[in-house]
């Protein structure tokens, strides 16, 4: 007697375990993707390529990308370079619905839109990104964000911060506050600090930038600190948690930023508050008490609600940082898993990569990379891989990494939105 093949076993398992029945009456299995950022748009296209019926729900007609928005703030990149429409996604065959996803009925497997329309699904992928927590820092609410921009969701906030820095008087003070972990784009605040310092150095050399951090250790730290010491020694002052960097309150009327030890009077304040998974994740019940979404590291299926997968910034992805590169890599792996699950197959254990570039000045790029695999129920670093750019690299490597950063942005946005 020959042993059953893997396929036989999976067919049998599919029949016995009663995978939720795909809506075969309407043809292909249906997948709804909510959120049209790097994760959602990438997942939608990969699911479509796998032969599924895919609907992408996205509130906005235009996506405004966060990577490189620090360059916009520093006047190094036009805002238009951040904006992407969905013609490429819909042209590929994905049904794009511009609407707000208002509710999710996980038992009946359907998404209700704000206008009351419903979308049935066999599997749902949520890529909702982040919501900013306006309850976390006393005084920092949505009204305060109009005066002290977070610019942590790209768009009008990005332009607001750029204009405020441009309009700041000579000798003014910029205060930038950085949250504790976890948050979107771990090295992003330090890239922002670097590029604001670059603007001050080149256009307002008597101005100061104070960075107040709610932690002591951060991404690419040694590279940033080395660059700051050499490029911006008299401009950028970094205050870690241990030095009293945690912001305990703000006053938008007086442009004051408070810590336990000091009060900082700002001419321009950029307050990046703590964050949580986008609202629909909470509505769907896939966010836990941390505000983020626990997932299976092989399939990205929610640990809390079956049939719903969560990718991108909203997911608790273990060692993987919340980045656009990660969201896209997770989208590809999640799409394969969804295709497998809908076909009754067991998904293969994945490996994922993240690469993330930061600019500390024009033509001066640094990077961090990592390789990840499921281990002990979470995505863990593959030991011996990954790490940051060398500390003692020549200027040519910094220049090369700055060029790679720009080319990465062109490549990923063209593939995901083009």
């Amino acid at each position: 007697m020959t042993a059953p093949t893997r396929r036989d076993l999976i067919c049998a398992a599919g029949a016995v375990l009663a995978f939720p029945k795909p809506s075969l009456a309407q043809g292909k299995p249906k997948v709804v993707v909510v959120g049209g950022g790097f994760g959602g748009a990438s997942a939608a296209r990969a699911l479509l390529a796998g032969g599924l019926d895919v609907t992408l729900v996205e509130a906005n007609a235009t996506y405004t990308a966060c990577p490189f928005s620090n360059e916009v703030i520093a006047g190094l990149q036009p805002m238009e370079a951040q904006r992407f429409g969905y013609d490429g996604v819909s042209g590929s065959g994905v049904r794009v619905v511009h609407a707000v996803a208002a509710a999710i009925d996980a038992d009946r497997r359907r998404v209700t839109l704000a206008d009351g329309a419903t979308l049935p699904y066999d599997r749902l992928v949520l890529s909702p990104g982040i919501d900013l927590r306006f309850d976390a820092i006393p005084g920092y609410d949505e009204a305060a964000a109009e005066v002290m921009p977070h610019a942590w969701k790209a768009g009008v906030q990005t332009e607001l911060l750029r204009r405020r820095i441009e309009a700041m008087p000579e000798g003014g003070t910029v205060v930038l506050s950085v949250p504790g972990n976890p948050y979107r784009c771990p090295p992003g605040p330090y890239e922002r600090a670097s590029l604001i310092a670059h603007v001050l150095k080149t256009r307002k050399p008597s101005a100061k930038l104070i960075v107040l951090d709610a932690k002591d250790v951060f991404s690419k730290q040694r590279l940033f600190e080395a660059a700051w010491a050499s490029l911006y020694p008299s401009i950028l002052e970094y205050v870690p948690l241990a030095g009293g960097g945690q912001v305990t309150g703000v006053d938008r009327a007086t442009m004051t930023v408070r810590t336990d030890f000091s009060e900082y009077k700002a001419d321009v304040a950029c307050i990046i508050p703590p964050q949580r998974a986008g609202r629909i994740a909470v509505t769907a019940g896939v966010a836990d008490r941390s505000g983020w979404c626990p997932i299976d590291p092989v399939t990205f299926e929610s640990r809390l609600v079956p049939g719903i997968h969560v990718i991108g910034d909203a997911a608790i992805a273990g060692a993987m940082p919340k980045s656009a590169f990660s969201a896209d890599a997770q989208a590809q792996v999640c799409a394969l898993a969804v295709i497998d699950l809908l076909a009754g197959r067991a998904p293969e254990e994945p490996k994922l990569i993240n690469t993330c570039y930061s600019l500390v000045a024009p033509g001066y790029g640094i990077s961090i990379a990592g390789v990840y695999r499921p281990s002990g129920g979470v995505l863990a670093d593959v030991e011996g891989a990954g790490g940051i750019s060398p500390l003692d690299a020549p200027a040519s490597l910094r220049e090369q990494e700055a060029a790679y950063a720009a080319d990465w942005y062109r490549t990923i946005t063209r593939r995901v939105f083009g």
Binding site: R7, K21, G50, A329, L342, G344, K351, I353, W408, T411
Partner: protein, 109 residues
């Protein structure tokens, strides 16, 4: 009964070559059959950077041996690199060969 029918119908919708491919099996596949193969672990992340017109270079459709050699040299450190040395160290020789086989059989852009 309906459950069994659904399972078979769904399997039929997937190209035969895409089913049940381990990286090891992928290495032994003839090129034609590999056209529809699924990416081995890690391979779906490559397109995050590699595309025509980018300084990182397009890799889809490049010769398998060339990609396998590059990954091996990045892994050993023999080939200078910015990020590829750090990434290649995260993959075994067999995983790297599977990625090379997959990428080389992707249609060039």
């Amino acid at each position: 009964m309906r459950g069994i029918g659904a399972a078979f119908l769904l399997l039929a919708a997937v190209p035969a070559a895409a089913r049940d491919l381990s990286p090891k099996a992928a290495q032994d596949m003839p090129a034609a059959a590999a056209q529809d193969m699924r990416p081995p672990p890690g391979a779906s992340s490559c397109a995050g950077c590699h595309a025509a017109g980018a300084a990182m270079g397009a890799i889809a459709g490049r010769p398998e041996a060339e990609i396998a050699t590059a990954l091996a040299e990045y892994r050993s450190g023999a080939r200078p690199a910015s990020v590829m040395g750090r990434i290649a160290k995260g993959f075994s020789e067999a995983e790297s060969r599977a990625i090379a086989a997959y990428v080389s059989r992707r249609p060039p852009e």
